[in-house]
């Protein structure tokens, strides 16, 4: 067997929520039997953006905010790969916010896990798009990315977990990975993952979370009802967790790629072999 890099030990602060996300992802990959060499984990920049170093998969540390375009490019180039994006709330909703919207709209079959701690951990505690009004002189309203996701017609899987509820979190990770593996599209999972050092929200979130899976009347397939319910939760300052919304919509790779083509990354590009076909194309362009 060939030795390659040894996964490093996480460098997060003791008590950081991200440990729970790492654990849940490891569990999920194991449960679904996804081999390390078949998965590409793309991480953003931030405390959360070091998670790929703690796994033994192919790991790509992209630029701040560019997790989703990187994942989309990789998935389109080789749809056979399991592509998983991980990053922070600043990474995904601030600097990468535009990509978030467009990825929901495109619906590529990738899993995206956002470790939302409602602050910029790595740069030491500035307000992020999900910070509450009043946090560190923040005067803006906090963004609810799930509500944004609901407004995007291409959304197929919107979920939220909480590191304080690890069993459910693993279940959600498994569901998300399954959604993407099945080629159903973009599996978005936001994890409430507290930053104990700059925005310790454990106490508030423990009491605020509301598990929709405990509510028999909750129907994740009914977009309008979910929207109404989420608005209601927001008014009551509760944080809904669980599989919040699910829908069917063609996955990007199933409509953007030519059906009979294999992965572009694996196609034979031997120039001697293809010369007659290049010649033919050139002939068709000649006058």
């Amino acid at each position: 067997m060939t030795t390659t890099f040894t996964p490093s030990r996480p460098y997060w602060c003791a008590g950081c929520g991200d440990y729970g996300v790492l654990q849940a992802l490891e569990n999920g990959l194991r449960q679904l039997g996804i081999a390390a060499h078949e998965a590409l984990v793309v991480a953003g920049i931030g405390c959360s953006g070091s998670l790929q170093n703690n796994l033994s998969c192919y790991g790509y540390h992209t630029l701040h905010g560019r997790v989703l375009p990187s994942c989309t490019g990789a998935k389109l180039a080789n749809p056979e790969l399991t592509v998983i994006g991980v990053g922070g709330d600043g990474d995904g909703y601030a600097i990468g916010g535009g990509h978030f919207m467009h990825t929901l709209k495109r619906n590529p079959s990738i899993t995206y896990i956002v470790m939302n701690n409602a602050t910029y951990g790595l740069t030491k505690g500035q307000p992020s798009p999900t910070s509450l009004n009043g946090f560190e002189n923040n005067v803006e309203e906090d963004l609810d990315p799930v509500l944004l996701g609901l407004s995007m017609p291409g959304s197929t899987f919107l979920a939220r977990g909480y590191t304080g509820q690890p069993a459910q979190l693993t279940r959600l990770v498994v569901e998300a990975l399954r959604h993407a593996e099945a080629g159903k599209g973009f599996a978005y999972l936001e994890v409430l993952s507290p930053c104990v050092t700059y925005n310790d929200t454990y106490r508030e979130w423990r009491t605020a979370v509301f598990d929709v899976e405990q509510d028999a009347t909750y129907d994740p397939n009914d977009r309008a009802a979910v929207f109404a319910r989420l608005l209601q939760c927001r008014a009551e300052r509760r944080l809904p967790i669980g599989l919040l919304y699910r829908n069917e919509h063609p996955a990007l790779e199933s409509v953007a790629l030519r059906k009979d083509n294999g992965p572009a990354a694996l196609v034979d590009i031997d120039s001697a072999l293809l010369k007659p076909r290049y010649e033919k194309l050139m002939q068709s362009l000649m006058r």
Partner: protein, 598 residues
């Protein structure tokens, strides 16, 4: 029409079709270009458009010639104007005995505007088009017929061209266009231009087929031929054609084109794709290149192979979107934060666009780094007759990739291993036991983030060393003219054709020159410095205001006192006569100084 006794063979013919934006001048020029190329001539076309879809005076120019020409000539032989304003604008360029054909639907041109020996024909193209087809656009086909008669094209040759050109646009459209052509021929009869009595001897030939292709399309083809199979981009003039060409053909070869939501996304989609092993490219211009800088630095730091085409346009900011400039060299060579390895190739001819982009694609893989191909609006969008591409000149080699088998033979695999030439073999996701950590953070050989000073320096030096180890593979300059001449030219992109013709004119004035056409701009190769050293004076011709190329050569060791800058940055194309005049005035001044000193 008072026609010459004998019909002339075409030696060097320049035709302009001008009108308001949206009039379809380009369509007429493209049709004429096809016909003239089919009659065995080489052609070169240029367009002069504004960054809007409708309105504003625009024009397209065509030069048909025997021999080799890579730019538009200085005079006009035939001007076809859909808008009389275009005649006012171009009156000065009309050669003696030239022909003006114009649409007089809106009235006749002013008395005395043109020299008496210019032959002027007015006909109501637009009015006829609206009357017969209810669409103004068919005036192009009517006008084409009149221009074709004036030139001496046979009627059935024109008809055959229409049948081919409009075959795929539906039977109704083809019929209308053929009817419009017939109407135009009847109009030509009325104007006294009967069939078989045009100015020139132009006959169809099947002897020698050529491509009529733009630099952008040739570059796209070069990428494809070198195994390029993934392209991500965001539309921007004048580089969009690259994406559009690939979008048409790449899927037939198993490839993918993706239009992203912005350039930040495009460059990062490209990087994500490149990591899977697919040969990847993006193309952009000015503002897009600024947005891509962080991503290109990532490709440098994380050693991700990537080709970036920059079709340079007038900057800064939104600048002159449809005009050529060569003002991004500093950005390509020095742009991005920190220091990273990249190479910049610069084509001069349309053929170069194909071969250099193919080479860039190969080199990006071989050296695991970003490679720029620097075009400009004119080289990118003008089209030229080129000889069929020679695909056997395109190398595709998967070095330094490790297959699963090669990985299995090793005890240990390190993505960023230190090696003699600085290139570390890579694996692609899916390869068992080939896992890596790829990152733009400084990293150790395995890809673990590391700030250890010793490792940092070694990794920096490793990446930098690739710029040295790749030198034997970098393309060498094209050389033209008298190799013993003491007066030299250097220029890339759209200066290529202008310099070559200016050299002929200077030779007529008794001034011998040679031209060094660098194909590698960065790193600056020794051959460039040696060329400058071998001359007494070198005219570095570039489309920017700060002499970016000349300063680069001086920074790398060239003797600056030998360099004369010829700088063009007004958005217009440098005329051959302008360049000749500039060189002559310098040379005269120089001569006088020498005489005075003696």
């Amino acid at each position: 029409m008072n026609r010459p006794e004998t019909r002339l063979p075409v030696e060097d013919l320049n035709i302009i079709v001008a009108g308001q934006g949206g009039d379809g001048s380009l369509t007429v020029i493209n049709l004429l270009a096809t016909v003239l190329q089919q009659s065995g001539l080489k052609v070169y076309t240029e367009r002069d458009v504004l960054s809007r879809i409708k309105g504003g005076l625009t024009s397209a120019t065509l030069r048909a010639f025997k021999g080799d020409r890579y730019c538009i000539g200085g005079h006009i032989d035939l001007l076809m104007a859909f808008d009389p304003d275009a005649i006012e604008k171009r009156a000065k360029q009309l050669a003696a005995g030239s022909i003006v054909i114009y649409d007089n639907s809106g009235g006749d041109i002013r008395e005395g505007l043109l020299d008496p020996d210019v032959r002027v024909y007015g006909a109501p193209f637009a009015r006829q088009a609206v009357k017969s087809f209810r669409r103004d656009l068919f005036k192009n086909s009517i006008g084409f017929a009149v221009a074709g008669r004036a030139l001496g094209l046979a009627d059935d040759f024109m008809r055959a061209t229409f049948e081919r050109r409009f075959a795929r646009s539906g039977p109704q459209n083809l019929k209308y266009n053929l009817d419009a052509l017939a109407l135009g021929l009847a109009l030509a009869d009325e104007l006294g231009m009967s069939a078989g009595h045009g100015l020139y001897e132009i006959v169809p030939t099947e002897r020698h087929q050529r491509l009529l292709i733009t630099g952008n399309d040739a570059a796209a083809f070069g990428f494809l031929a070198a195994g390029g199979r993934f392209f991500a981009g965001y539309p921007i003039t004048p580089s969009t054609d690259v994406m559009e060409w690939l979008d048409k053909y790449i899927a037939d070869f198993g490839g993918v084109v993706r239009q992203a939501e912005d350039e930040l996304s495009a460059i990062n989609m490209a990087l994500g794709a490149a990591l899977t092993g697919v040969r990847t490219m993006t193309a952009t211009s000015g503002p897009g290149l600024s947005l891509m800088q962080e991503g290109i630095g990532q490709a440098g730091a994380a050693e991700i192979p990537l080709v970036v085409i920059d079709v340079q346009r007038g900057g800064p900011s939104t600048g002159l979107p449809t005009k050529p400039e060569q003002s991004d060299f500093d950005l390509m060579i020095f742009g991005g934060h920190g220091e990273f390895t990249r190479a910049v190739l610069a084509p001069g001819s349309t053929e170069d666009c194909f071969y250099l982009t193919a080479l860039a694609t190969e080199l990006s893989q071989r050296y695991q780094m970003p490679i720029y191909v620097a075009l400009d609006q004119a080289l990118g969008q003008n089209s030229a007759s080129v000889e069929p591409f020679d695909f056997s000149r395109v190398t595709v080699d998967n070095r330094p990739r490790y297959s699963a088998g090669e990985v299995a033979q090793r005890d240990i695999y390190k993505r960023y291993a230190f090696t003699e030439n600085g290139v570390s073999p890579y694996t692609i996701p899916g390869t068992p036991d080939g896992m890596w950590l790829v990152t733009g953070n400084e990293h150790d050989e395995f890809g673990h983030v590391s700030a250890a000073p010793g490792n940092r320096k070694k990794q920096m030096d490793k990446r930098a060393s690739k710029l040295v180890s790749m030198v034997p593979d970098l393309p060498r300059a094209g050389r033209y003219g008298d190799p013993t001449a003491k007066i030299g030219f250097i220029g890339v992109g759209l200066t290529y054709g202008t310099i070559l013709e200016a050299m002929e004119a200077l030779a007529d004035h008794g001034i011998a020159t040679q031209y060094f056409q660098p194909k590698t701009v960065w790193p600056v190769l020794d051959e460039t410095l040696e060329f400058i050293a071998s001359c007494d004076r070198v005219y570095v011709v570039e489309y920017n205001s700060t002499a970016q190329l000349a300063k680069l050569f001086v920074r790398e060791g060239a003797d600056g006192s030998k360099i004369e800058n010829v700088l063009k940055y007004d958005g217009a194309v440098l005329q051959i006569s302008e360049l000749v005049a500039e060189v002559l005035s310098h040379e005269v001044a120089h001569y006088e100084r020498e005489v005075n000193a003696a």
